[in-house]
Symmetry: C2
Subunit: 545 residues, 2 copies
């Protein structure tokens, strides 16, 4: 039996686009003599469809796509994910289903049992879990078909669910396992995914074919990396990351095993590719073309500019230098030399005149007050306003350059440097931004070395440095990581050897700045715990604040 | 048996505050000779604690509060909600529990079975559902204790869950039902709640004591309105809305019934009270005192100013008039007369000079372009910047005045009039804003009639009116309601008799402006479907856009 895995980049709600893409891959699979071609979870509508699932017209469109696909299933069978209406009156209205289509008919279905409802996932919001399990017979083989999370409750010390679907399916003596997924990227995911797949293969002693999505849906990136594993406990093949592709596998070859063919999984390289994918698909799926951003001469905006030029083409990136009286000469020089290295357009719009106008307008109200953070914020907000004005006039989309460390502690100005349609580095700690910069410069000096080596500064007052207000990033970032990624509380972090007052101060900063992050642009997710829908914190609350 | 219902305003994560408040009400209950006093769901930590539940130190603090409360349970027993660690290794780590404390011991617990995971609710994100049901014996009575949603699966045509906890508990022949809740307000909720309570009373023929929270947690408002219902199918007592209070009930009186004592539930009056509660608690729980907002002379900012003055005191509200060349004279006059009616401070900061400065700065880049929405947005953003600057300098919190109709169709400027810490009217359609204005003016003309009667305008270009860009609100709002509150798709709405192109145009506007709402301030929720965490839509997506 020849099995095709089609690892595709779907668009949420683009029924026609997703369908015609699948049809073109079905034709490839037919031409290659595949017996069955596998698409991803909820492939008809894209993942995550979120509350569109509450609209019956949306579900009708999904059903229509399945009806269409049936007509293409005469030569090569099709496995595809789509939501369907729960036939039972009790429980949630939908099931998250995998359809096995062959010769114009549905010859089997599998409904998802384990519904991820944590981090960025909200599946129990929409779906009723399946309670029955049935293998599907096709061309003399008995297939255990499952949807995504249903193979993830194996090999855990603390199982997230009280049941394990494959434990039921294995009783029906399947010959192979097929799992259709929509498994979002984080830099640990390629490794975790292979571990879970091998845990299944080792437990059930069957070959496993695992198909994933690729491409980005706003903040959520799918890295592809679909996997075929052999019963001998080897990864027979890991398909490329962040790439739309189809591959073909002979079942007997996979059962024979003895092969390990995996992709490189260097963390910084994966993050780099995920961010490029995130920028590229945000623009292409919204039918946008050109990006704009403010270039300060610092490392964050330099990295974002480079990523944008890579994702969109250098001709589609426009940068604005907006020096103030506090901007150092090297900042402008560093910014200009980056634009030269990349070959992109820049303009200079000094902010002094607008700043003076605000100072004049506010002078009667500010009489007798001392300069403070207000005046720094005015500068940041003037820059935001200028960028948005150029964006409005020319239809460019503003890219936000805030990094995760800044967003965490609120070292940023709401409606100022927090403006933008997409926060490219919002899930990348400052120390990781340096790693990205070095990765970008691995062959040539694209980002001026001076942007990397000088002490970070917002340049909103004379001689300002980040380290005036924040601990050094080498100290800050690990504490943030323990709190945000690891959900460790203050006493646990202090017990690891960090100074009490430092920990409490940082955690308080994170919590009292929840109101800023509430209004931040969507953050491209690359870590296991990104700001955004995967991290839901009260704005008003007293714990740790 | 004398039962006390303590309807309290908790603060999320304020363990000491919530505990000492409960202790003070236990003392009241003791002094009144109550046998048992009931607090709300998750009362130790406040609701919704969101991802703080993932922190073991947070759960330890909850446990500590329960330990403390035990010491106060010697005279009057205590029923109180708190999360606890799931004793089973499989499944989610927590249970959402009700504790029955008496004489220093836990004499019974009930764990929540039906975990709301829809709209603003995310409970299956954290909690494992209970599968066992046991009544609690206390002073010769057998009590069926449940948590919130566990009584809501009764009397529905389309039950949301496959099981019904009271159907199990009734087999143990309880004498009464007690339900502890954290049931957020929307203008339908007081009515829905009483219907569900009566459905239970009629089904099980037992008295029901239902205790709710009151007060606001950022966007989510609890309206109190705790209910005692008699087996004869009458609401024996509905406690006041939006008020912290304790009441006492003799079980025999309630069983006798024959009484119906409910609260008024006029929609506009409820919304008015909810918004006042939302503003008041946002400020008080964040330890903030004074609000600022821009006053345009239009109805939205007039209503918000009036609500803020009511919630915070007129001395704690500061308004800024920021006229441009396009501001009409009546706008300034109407704004000034509102401030005089309310007795609040106002300042005037014209925006002409700053606008000219931006025009000059951008002139080289904008050479040869025509004026468009860019220039309108610059004005709105200058106003946002001025308000934020005054807010930063004096520690006022900016209140946002966007209404739900504008937020829906994106008739607003991101980083301009969308600035603010809290969106007071973001869940109030324009047609409902008019109803609020009339309600506010029911005795005296607080809001100048001219602000109510003149055609709505953003005044960002000469002679501009909302109706230049939008359908009349009488037409727009019902279409938005069918789409947003009722989740009806375009074909369903068209089938109701609306013009096809109008419907498609409006729905498209709603969807393509998801990116703006992603960056909007938290919206005080008053409807069954508010923008914010209760409505989760993709930003990148093709359906209806």
């Amino acid at each position: 039996m020849k099995i095709a895995l089609a690892q595709l980049n779907y668009t949420i709600g683009d029924f026609d686009g997703n369908l015609s893409k699948m049809i073109s891959y079905i034709e490839k699979a037919e031409n290659s003599g595949a017996d069955v071609v596998c698409f991803g979870e909820l492939a008809t509508c894209g993942y995550p469809p979120a509350d569109f699932l509450n609209f019956s017209e949306f579900i009708q469109r999904c059903n229509h796509s399945i009806e269409q696909l049936k007509q293409y299933s005469y030569k090569t069978a099709i496995i595809v994910g789509s939501p369907i209406v729960n036939p039972k009156i009790e429980g949630k209205d939908l099931l998250n289903s995998a359809f096995f289509l062959y010769q114009g008919e549905v010859i089997g279905t599998a409904h998802k049992t384990l519904l991820p409802t944590y981090d960025i996932f909200d599946e129990y919001r929409y779906f009723e879990p399946a309670t029955e399990f049935r293998t599907i017979r096709f061309k003399g083989k008995n297939i255990a078909l499952t949807v995504c999370e249903d193979i993830w409750n194996v090999g855990n010390d603390n199982p997230l669910y009280p049941i394990c679907p494959m434990d039921h399916l294995i009783e029906q003596s399947p010959d192979l396992m097929i799992n259709i997924s929509a498994s979002p990227f984080n830099y640990n995911q390629p490794k975790n995914r292979k571990e879970v797949i091998l845990a299944n293969v080792n437990r059930y002693q069957l070959p496993l074919f695992y198909i994933n999505h690729t491409g980005a849906q706003t903040d959520i990136v799918f890295d592809g990396g679909s996997v075929v594993a052999s019963p001998d406990g080897n990864i027979f093949r890991e398909m490329p990351h962040f790439t739309e592709t189809i591959e073909y596998f002979d079942l007997e070859d996979v059962i024979s095993g003895g092969r390990t063919d995996i992709q490189p999984d260097d963390k910084t390289s994966l993050i780099y590719q995920a961010l490029i994918t995130g920028i590229r698909d945000y623009f292409s799926k919204l039918n946008l073309k050109t990006a704009i951003l403010g270039l300060s001469g610092g490392i964050d905006s330099a990295v974002v500019t480079t990523l944008a030029a890579q994702a969109l083409g250098k001709e589609n990136v426009r940068v604005i230098l907006m020096p103030s009286q506090y901007s150092s000469e090297h900042s402008i020089a560093d910014a200009v030399s980056l634009t030269q290295n990349l070959g992109i357009r820049f303009d200079i719009v000094p902010i002094k005149e607008t700043y003076m106008a605000f100072e004049n307008s506010l002078q009667p109200l500010f009489l007798g007050t001392e300069p403070d953070v207000t005046e720094e914020n005015i500068q940041a907000r003037i820059r935001g306003l200028l960028l948005m004005a150029i964006s409005n006039k020319y239809g460019n989309i503003l890219l936000n350059t805030s990094n995760k460390s800044e967003m965490a502690v609120g070292y940023s100005t709401l409606y100022g440097d927090m403006c933008g349609g997409l926060a490219v580095l919002g899930d990348v700690y400052k120390t990781e931004v340096y790693q990205l910069a070095h990765y970008i410069n691995r062959d040539d000096e694209v980002i001026p070395l001076n942007s990397i080596t000088k002490p970070p500064s917002a340049e909103l007052r004379p001689g300002q440095k980040d380290s005036d207000s924040l601990p050094l990033y080498d100290i800050l970032d690990p504490i943030l990581f323990h709190y945000i990624e690891e959900s460790k509380g203050p006493e646990e972090i202090i017990a690891m050897g960090y100074e009490r007052s430092l920990v409490l101060n940082i955690l308080k900063k994170v919590n009292i700045n929840e109101f800023k992050r509430k209004q931040a642009p969507p953050v491209i997710r690359v870590s296991p715990k990104a700001f955004g829908p995967g991290r839901r914190m009260p704005i008003v609350g007293k714990f740790l604040s």
